[in-house]
Amino acid sequence: MDLTYTPEEEAFRSEARAWLEAHVPPTPLASFDTAEGFEQHRAWEGELFAGRWSAVSWPLEYGGRGTDYIKWLIFEEEYWRAKAPGRVNQNGIFLLGPTIMDVGTAEQKTRFLPPMAAGADIWCQGWSEPNAGSDLAGIRSKAERSDDGGDWILNGQKTWCSRGAFADWMFGIFRTDPAAERHRGLTFILVPLDQPGITVRPIAQLDGETGFAEVFFDDVRVPTTNTVGDVNRGWQVAMATAGFERGVSLRSPARFTTTADRLVDLYRSHPDAELEDEVVQAWMDAEGYRLHTYMTVSSLLEGGTIGAEASLNKIFWSEMDVRMHETAMRLLGADAELVSNPWLDGFLFSLSGPIYAGTNEIQRNVIADRVLNLPRGS
């Protein structure tokens, strides 16, 4: 155990800090859930890529720096410290990218990864459907082979696609074997959203902006070379993605330690003895999440794996985020309801955490079934 950073890690931190100080836009960009903000964020992704900072843990050949996850955590700490823009392509870089590296073909890697890292292709996820939410095995959108066998023909509907209103591409799961039951017979397919037959209907979220979309498929043709992993094995591919998402990459600790520090600052300007304990607890929880992540990442570096334990992370960060924002709202009292309240957007966003990436109820089932080995529900 050595909880100090090596000179090399410190040098990496300095380099990241210097670059971010020189490049982070001095005024915040517009929300990436607006057309204007989306393009501003796309340009920022391009700038990050030009500095080789958009995907530091990716191999050099795809535009990354080939760093280990410890350095990725350090980069995230610096990124949040610098108040840099939100990552509009996070679903691509942090979810799909690692999946393609894991199970994609050589051709898919060279074709999809560099433009993903550069922000030229921005990705949304197409998993949920009107009748397939927590029970993703209920997916009905289907992919059928064209007569010549070279294309998939997609029909159906995806919904709650974050960034779907403006994204270029979707990675989705489609039913390819209608006779198969539940999790079998699904296939993971990459779909360009500018195809004929695709209709995108934006959906406004709690903040009034179109952060969601419904996407309709009407005889959409996609080459079968866009299949990731084996046909009819899409569930396994998707679950690998879910492991990355819940486990390490989706929500780095820096996001929450930054929020906790802001909360402590807010407490100083709005002291309330009754809430002091909550503020201290929030700060300790963020610190606890940071330590837990460093321990997980260290174990991965020594050859460990992350499995169902990833569900513990997802529950912890999402519920901590809600608590921290609730405490801030209570400290603000009557000013909390004002739209000028700088905590409001974060509060609303925190409420989505226990829902997306698998509801926390599902995560608790996963922990019970696969970590505690309790019998499956009857």
């Binding site: 155990m1 050595d2 950073y5 402590v264 700060w283 300790m284 995560q363 009857s378």
Partner: protein, 358 residues
């Protein structure tokens, strides 16, 4: 940055776990409850168990090698104390191994060798840890705090008043005694505070082990016990109760392990600290880390004990079932050495009185 234990550290942990499976099964924990004869001295099984732990190096782990110890640090000790917690070891592991040994070693006191070898059982009484001294009646050496001094007393120089703990394996006493120049340990300033923090760290590790065992017990039961024609562990209400208990434990663990590292580092650099700033930062980190550890471990524990009881239902509410042996130790230790609220205030006093943003 590498937040892992070495293969050696994990091997020693496994060895202690194996030893305790043999020397401290639930029947032995129960026997320690029932053999409550203070005046008659230590019972044979307890003496034997302590000798095994000492032989393996657990008791004297923090003592220098030329004093019969292993010369290792709190990072090496923390996993072993966690195992002692998991097995609900009745003897004062925290007091002897984590607190008394380093105090005697720091004072360059010859008695450290006898404590490390297990020949003499030692315990400690620090006011911040609570008014009662654990295993005082069983101990051959008592290290007692008086202001910013620590005094070492033998049993014939103290008067004990026994108090029964709900954890029958824990033998508590109030101690009446008088400090004198002859009993005072020669310690440098800061050693008393360090001793307290070491105890807080160790009891936190013990609590994590206890909590893990409670969740394991409850999960085992939930797999076996059937109602409505199904194992109760297949019901979502039970699954979620246990998932939540596990969550708190798994997030307490790294906080405890980090605290061990911070205490170990402070121990190595404390005396020769070059500047006042460094001393301040080290003690700030140490104070925060041990408190955060305790706080997190204790939150986990309270949940684990209640979840375990709830899952067991009425059978868990009986004297006959072993569950209460662990639960009561959990509740006792959650309150000893400063409870969660006290430690949270200690973190708060550091956090809110200084700038946070780096």
């Amino acid at each position: 940055m590498r937040f892992t234990f070495t293969a050696e550290q994990q091997l020693l942990q496994a060895a202690v776990r194996d030893l305790l499976a043999k020397e401290c099964p639930p029947a032995a924990v129960r026997a320690a409850w029932e053999a409550r004869d203070l005046s008659g001295g230590r019972v044979a099984a307890s003496v034997e168990r302590w000798r095994h732990l000492a032989d393996m190096g657990v008791v004297g782990l923090l003592a220098p090698t030329d004093r019969g110890g292993l010369g290792l640090t709190e990072v090496d000790l923390v996993l072993l104390v966690e195992e002692c917690g998991r097995a609900a070891v009745p003897e004062p592991v925290v007091e002897a191994a984590a607190v008394a040994i380093p105090l005697l070693a720091a004072a360059n006191d010859d008695r450290v060798a006898d404590v490390a070898s297990g020949a003499v059982l030692a315990t400690v009484g620090l006011p911040d840890a609570g008014p009662y001294v654990a295993s005082a009646g069983d101990s051959g050496l008592l290290l007692l705090q008086h202001g910013d001094e620590i005094h070492a007393l033998e049993p014939n120089h103290v008067v004990l008043t026994e108090h029964r703990s709900m954890d029958g394996g824990r033998r508590l006493s109030s101690v009446t005694w008088s400090p004198s120049e002859a009993t005072r340990l020669r310690l440098s300033p800061g050693e008393v505070a360090a001793a307290f923090d070491r105890g807080v760290l160790a009891v936190s590790a013990q609590l994590v082990g206890l909590a893990s065992h409670l969740v394991e017990l409850a999960a085992d039961y939930a797999r076996e016990r059937e109602q409505f024609g199904h194992p109760i562990g297949s019901f979502q209400a039970v699954k979620h109760l246990l998932a939540d208990a596990l969550l708190r434990i798994e997030f307490a663990r790294p906080v405890v392990y980090r605290a061990a590292w911070t205490v170990a580092m402070a121990g190595q650099g404390g005396a020769s600290g070059a500047s006042a700033v460094r001393a301040r930062d080290v003690s700030m980190a140490k104070g925060y880390a041990s408190d955060a550890a305790t706080r997190a471990a204790r939150a986990a524990l309270t949940r684990a004990a209640r979840a375990a009881l709830q899952v067991h239902g009425a059978i868990g509410y009986t004297w006959e079932h072993d569950l209460h042996l662990w639960m009561k130790k959990a509740w006792a230790l959650a309150a000893a050495w400063g409870d969660a609220a006290w430690h949270r205030r200690r973190v708060g006093s550091w956090l809110l009185d200084s700038p946070v943003t780096a």
